[in-house]
């Protein structure tokens, strides 16, 4: 599992079975210092996250298990909206202004 920031939305009319009605968001993966960590990608939202939100995600097979029905072709799912990240390096308030 990993942290990320929602940086956009993806709209797709023609979708595989099981993906109907699912919200697709563009996510930038972050490390615990909230620095970009890896390539931006698309994830399915399960927690009503919105643009700019700091979130955490689950990847791989387990991403599909976050959805109902769970037998769907996804490899990243947003499973939480982060309020706070408490780490030795810094205490970071989610929602605080950052790039």
């Amino acid at each position: 599992m990993y942290l990320g920031q929602v940086i956009g939305t993806v709209v797709a009319t023609q979708k595989a079975e099981g993906l109907e009605g699912k919200k697709l968001l563009l996510v930038r993966p972050l490390d615990h210092r909230l620095q970009p960590n890896g390539d931006d990608h698309v994830a399915v939202d399960t927690v009503r996250a919105g643009s700019g939100d700091l979130v955490y995600l689950v990847g791989s097979r387990e991403a599909a298990l976050a959805l109902d029905p769970w037998f769907v072709p996804v490899d990243a799912a947003i499973v939480g909206v982060v309020d706070d990240v408490n780490a030795a390096v810094a205490k970071i308030e989610a929602g605080a202004s950052r790039p």
Binding site: M1, H32, V47, R48, Y56, L65, V82, V85
Partner: protein, 96 residues
Amino acid sequence: MMLGRVEGNVVATAHHPAFDGRKLLIVQPLDETRRPVGTSILAVDMVQAGVGDVVLVNREGNGNRQLLKMGPIVPIRSLIVAIVDRVDVDGGGASA
């Protein structure tokens, strides 16, 4: 499984129901000599680990589902399953 050190925690009020009551920790992966390798990940805790602990993280969902006993549909990929007391490396590179 992966060795790592707990660096902190993440608080998230809005979350998937599978994470209800679960502690979510930031884990920095370590090599066998406890040097950081790669970037941090998030893992659910099931052994009461705390900041600074060296832990063992299972990064595979099926084993986690068996351990958590929450049924077959649990979207938890990384689970802290042990707090490491020591790592002995053959050839003298031991770390306590």
